[in-house]
Structures are given as C-alpha cells and as structure tokens.
C-alpha cells in the first residue's frame, strides 16, 4: 500500500526507454519515502518476456496484464487496468512517460481517480509542504517541477490531498541505471477480465506503422541546434553540412520547429528531446527555459548569436558574437583545414 508505481510502456515485448528511466527515478523516490517500487505492464504475449527488462531497476512488485486486446495500446482498456488496480493498491505516486501513450493515458486515469497530474516534469523531488491558509502541513509530498508559461518561470506543483500524485516525464530527462541485474521482485500475473470490462474494447486499431527514429539526437556526442535565428529551412542546410563534417546530429528549438525550419522530431527541449552531448552548438537560439531544460547538461556549450545578451549565452562556455551565416561556414572551413 502507498507505494510508488511506474506504468511501463511497451512496444511489443520491449520496454520503452522512458519507462526504464522512470523506474530508476521511482526507485530513488521509493527509497526516500521508505516504501516499495511497483511496476505495471499491460500488453499481449508479454509474460515471460518483460520481467528481466523491469525487475533489475529495483522493482519489488511487477503487475502483469496479458491479453490480446491490450496491444496495440488503446485508451480505455489500459485506463481500466490502472484505475481498478489503483483502487486496490492505493499508490501514493504514479509516474508515466510524457509521450503519446502516457499523455493519452495519464489524464484519463487522473480524471477517473480525481487525482492531480502534472505533465512534462523536468525534476521530481520529495519534500514538505505547508498550506498556510488551511493551516495544514504535509510531510513528504512529490514536488513536480516544470517550466511553465512560455518558459519564463519554473513552477513547483504539489498534490496535497489527492492520491496518487501523478506526473509524466519526457524520454531522456531522467537517466536509466540498472540497480541489480538479479534483483528479486515479485511478479503477479493478473486476470485481465477482472479489471477490464468487454465494453472497453470499442476502439479498433486498423493499421499501424512505426519506424525507428530517423535521427540519433538523444545519444549523439555532438549536437548542432538551430533556432529561429536560422531564418529559414535553407538556413538549416548549413547546419546539416556542419553536422556531416564533425559527425554530429542536428536539432532545433521549438521556435525553429514551429516556423517550419526543421522537422518536429528534431525538437530539443522540455516538449521535445532531452540531450546530453559532449558538445552542444546553439546557432541562433535565444534560449527559452524550455529549450535550456532539454540541453543544460551538455558538456561544452557553444552559442553563436548576433545578440550578445541572448539568455543562452549565460550558460555557454563559449560565446561567439556574430551571425550564423558568417560563423557556421567558417567553422566548417577551419574544421576541414585543421582536422587533417
């Protein structure tokens, strides 16, 4: 009772990276609270195939729901699994990935349980809370920390009264670390029919195409990111050229994606990919907090900007005051000359 729960997202019988990251975070939160870590996995043909991917993160109890109707994912059956299991187990915290599945499932579960949900958190901590108006204090609440309002502020959200305290986190924000490859956790295979009524299977997936990510942004050692300052889709071409030369990957800020300069799957930041490269070259990026949330742990940050007061310059190791049109071709030229 009152444990930390992580919803494990599956593609077939493979546990998503984001879920492994959340299991790692969940283990730490459970340790701080002195409770157990439990995981939930729902899919088809998964029993026997997923336990070794989940338990090593320090999972004390794994709840498996295995039935043909549970894969591919649809909202209603997975909601019933979570809601009915949670009514029995009364978790205090539930974490989910902030991707298409988690952002479809999380709100529906939170609405059914009347519990609070905070989307796209960039940090999770445990701490006390005082409600002065109501004259109440709370010992150990989940601090759900996220940038808000166009990135001008960082808000810490708490759910004082309602349980579970729910949060979604994007892939790459937390780090996955196996606790013990032989960690002994209990596996419970549930009778799906007891949790999911037949009437839940009303949405049919007729067709489905999933491709492996076209880019390796998340794991790239060198990232070259373009912002609104790149000016156009053509402006991004020179970033791709630089990337090819120095073996990096190209990303973009939200402003660049919104303006159509680069593809949506290249977006770096709170609502995109989080990266931790050795070198991050920010080209024409001013540095809204949501963007910085997705790259601040980079090893060396180089900012190329015509505005010497761009916020990103304050966290950069090198600031080049100049236009991208001028500087990027020079980077390519001198890299070619000096790397031989």
């Amino acid at each position: 009772m009152n444990n930390v729960f992580v919803y494990c997202e599956l593609e077939g019988t493979v546990v998503a990276e984001v879920s492994q990251e959340l299991l790692t975070k969940g283990r730490k939160l459970a340790n701080t609270l002195g409770v157990q870590l439990e995981a939930v996995a729902a899919g088809s043909g998964i029993t026997g195939n997923i336990e070794k991917q989940i338990l090593p993160y320090g999972v004390d109890k794994l709840h498996i729901f295995d039935a043909p109707g549970l894969a591919p994912y649809t909202s209603l059956p997975h909601t019933s699994v979570m809601v009915n299991l949670f009514k029995e187990e009364q978790p205090q915290i539930c974490l989910m990935g902030a991707d298409v599945v988690g952002r479809d499932l999380g709100p529906r579960v939170s609405s059914a349980l009347h519990s609070g949900l905070t989307a796209d958190c960039t940090a999770l901590e445990i701490g006390p809370h005082e409600d002065k108006k109501a004259g109440k204090t709370y010992e150990s609440l989940l601090y759900q920390i996220r940038p808000a309002f166009g990135g001008n502020i960082v808000a810490t959200i708490v759910n004082p009264e309602n349980r579970p305290q729910m949060a979604t986190v994007r892939s790459g924000v937390m780090k996955a670390e196996v606790l013990d490859p032989d960690y002994k956790g209990e596996v419970i295979v549930h009778d799906v029919a007891k949790y999911v009524p037949e009437t839940d299977y009303v949405v049919k997936v007729l067709d489905r195409h999933v491709e492996k990510a076209k880019n390796n942004l998340k794991g790239a050692p060198i990232v070259i990111a373009g912002g609104y300052g790149m000016g156009s889709k053509e402006g991004f071409d020179m970033l791709f050229e630089l990337a090819k030369e120095i073996h990096g990957e190209v990303g973009g800020s939200r402003a660049a994606v919104d303006a159509g300069f680069c593809d949506h799957d290249l977006q770096i930041g709170q609502t995109g990919v989080t990266v931790r490269p050795k070198v991050y070259i920010a080209c024409g990026i001013s540095g809204a907090i949501q963007h910085i949330a997705g790259m601040k742990e980079s090893g060396i940050i180089i900012s190329i900007n015509s505005d010497p007061n761009a916020p990103i310059n304050t966290i950069a190791d090198y600031v080049i005051n100049g236009t991208v049109e001028e500087v990027v071709p020079k980077l390519i030229k001198y890299y070619k000359q000096n790397s031989k």
């Binding site: 529906r108 809370h129 166009g150 001008n152 808000a155 489905r208 195409h209 966290i315 190791d317 236009t323």
Partner: protein, 290 residues
C-alpha cells in the same frame, strides 16, 4: 447523416511571442503584455469540425470556450470561419482551475447543452502544454477518445475512422460515436475567415459584452437573435462549486521561480577568422571534437 459537433477552444496568451515585459518585477505573469490568441491547435480542431460539416449536410458546429468575457473572441473567430454558434462559460468560480477542474466545467456544460456525436479539441494549449483536458473531458462523459489526430478519414454509420500520430509513426483507428478527438498541430490548418460571415457576425456578442440600451447598435440584438452568443455560468450548468476553479483543483502551485541562470565563466569570441579558427584548434587539441 447530419452530425452534432462541439469544438472545445481556448483563448491563450501568445507565449510564443514573449517580450521582456512579460513578467512583472514581482515575478508574476503580466498578462496584459501578452496578446490573447486562439489556441493554435484548437484552430486545427475547428477545421476538422468544419470539414465534417461540409461532408455531412445539416451538421452543426458549436464552439464552447471558458474564460473572461473577452474570450468570446474565440467564438466570433469560429463563426467567421463557418461555425454555427457558441457558448462562453464564464464565472469567477471557474477561475484558478487546473486541468481537472477545467474538464469538469467543460464536461458539465456539454451534458447541459447535449452530448453531440463528435467532440473535437486541440491536442494541447500553448500556455500549459499539458494535453490533459481532452482525455479528461472524455473520461467525465464516459466516452472513448482518440488523441493526436491528424485527419478524419471517414465518418459513417455511427463510426469514425481517423489517422493519428504516434511516437515514430502513424496509426489508423476506428471508434464508435460519440467520441472525443484531440487534433495535432500538424493537421490541416484552419481555413481563413469568410468575408460574408465576418459581416454577419462582427457584432455577435455575449450578453456581458453587449452595448447598453440606447447606445449605438443596441437595437440590433432584438432583431437578429444570432448576434447574441451563448453565455453560461456555474448556476446555468448546475455545476458543483466544490469541483470548480481553485477548490476543484487537486494540483496546487507550491512555488514559482523566475529563471535566473547562473552565469558561467565563458569565453567571448568574435566572428573573425582568427577567433573561429582558434576555437576549432582548441576543441581539436583537447579532443572535444574530431
């Protein structure tokens, strides 16, 4: 088959164009410095609704929005593009709502005005980016949901087929009506305003906005009932006040911090050839690149 369609739309501060005066010195949001706009993905949702209406003669598109009186702009903008009518949900008791209290207010309103065949909304609003209200409304109405919709492919015989975006791909799903759909920003953009409709509806207002008797145009509202937009408060929709606004919101903001980056010691370079070459040589020498 004629359809009843509701579009959930929100007026949002344009967080994409945040200027230096967006925050007050006290660290709160200076709303007056941010222009209020039609939430972009709600416009994508409106377009999908209007297409359904085009394909199914006799259908109606009703826009529901929650906010202060000026949020009626969202309804007018929708009427200019082909929506049939709209309701503004406005009441001090709705203020301070998180996504759960917002979805309660919207779901309660939809029950009051009648559950339609299709409820559409944007995937998320740019001021919160949560993507929670759509699924929460669906849950409160006990309806199926399809999120991240790119396109409605077919709607016939009580079923709807849609293409939706998923991580790394696309999915085609079929759902029974009534259903809640949330539409992605990558879906078709909304059609522009129609000049005739702008002329027809430019003075459409909710009762709170209407000119007092005796003022110019005040008499028009008696003659043209379509100029009076729907306006509802908590009593009109018989909302449980405990579930509205701040008191109906399980999430509380504990702290808000203005962002001040810890300035690192950094090297400032110019765009001169010497500086750029020097940087490349330094990075190569310490094996940072190459």
């Amino acid at each position: 088959m004629s359809l009843k369609i509701i579009v959930l739309a929100k007026q949002v501060p344009d967080t994409r164009n945040v200027g230096p005066d967006a925050m007050t010195p006290e660290g709160t949001v200076n709303r007056s410095a941010l222009p209020a706009i039609f939430n972009p993905e709600d416009l994508n949702a409106l377009e999908q609704a209007l297409r359904l209406k085009d394909q199914n003669p006799g259908s109606t598109v009703t826009v529901v929005t929650m906010g202060p009186p000026r949020a009626a702009d969202v309804i007018r903008e929708s009427l200019y593009r082909g929506a049939d009518n709209g309701y503004l949900l406005t009441d001090r008791a709705f203020a301070g709502a998180d996504t759960l209290a917002t979805s309660y207010a919207l779901a309660t309103t939809i029950k009051k005005i009648g559950v339609p065949d299709v409820i559409l909304g944007g995937r998320q609003a740019i001021d919160g980016d949560t993507a929670q209200v759509g699924p929460q409304v669906a849950q409160k109405l006990d309806l199926p949901q399809v999120t991240y919709v790119e396109e409605i492919l077919k709607c016939a015989e009580g079923k709807i087929t849609v293409k939706r975006h998923i991580d790394g791909g696309v999915e085609t799903v079929e759902a029974p009506l009534p259903v809640v759909l949330t539409v992605n920003g990558s879906a078709a953009p909304c059609r522009p305003r129609n000049a005739k409709l702008v002329m027809k509806y430019k003075r459409a207002m909710v009762p709170l906005e209407k000119p007092a008797e005796g003022l110019p145009y005040a008499e028009e509202y008696g003659k043209k009932p379509y100029l009076t937009l729907g306006q509802l408060n908590t009593a009109d929709v018989e909302a449980d006040l405990q579930q509205c606004g701040l008191s109906g919101s399980p999430t509380k903001v504990k702290a808000v911090q203005n962002i001040v980056f810890k300035a690192k010691e950094n090297k400032v370079l110019t765009s001169s050839d010497a500086d750029v070459e020097g940087l490349i040589q330094e990075l190569l020498a310490n094996h940072t690149i190459g």
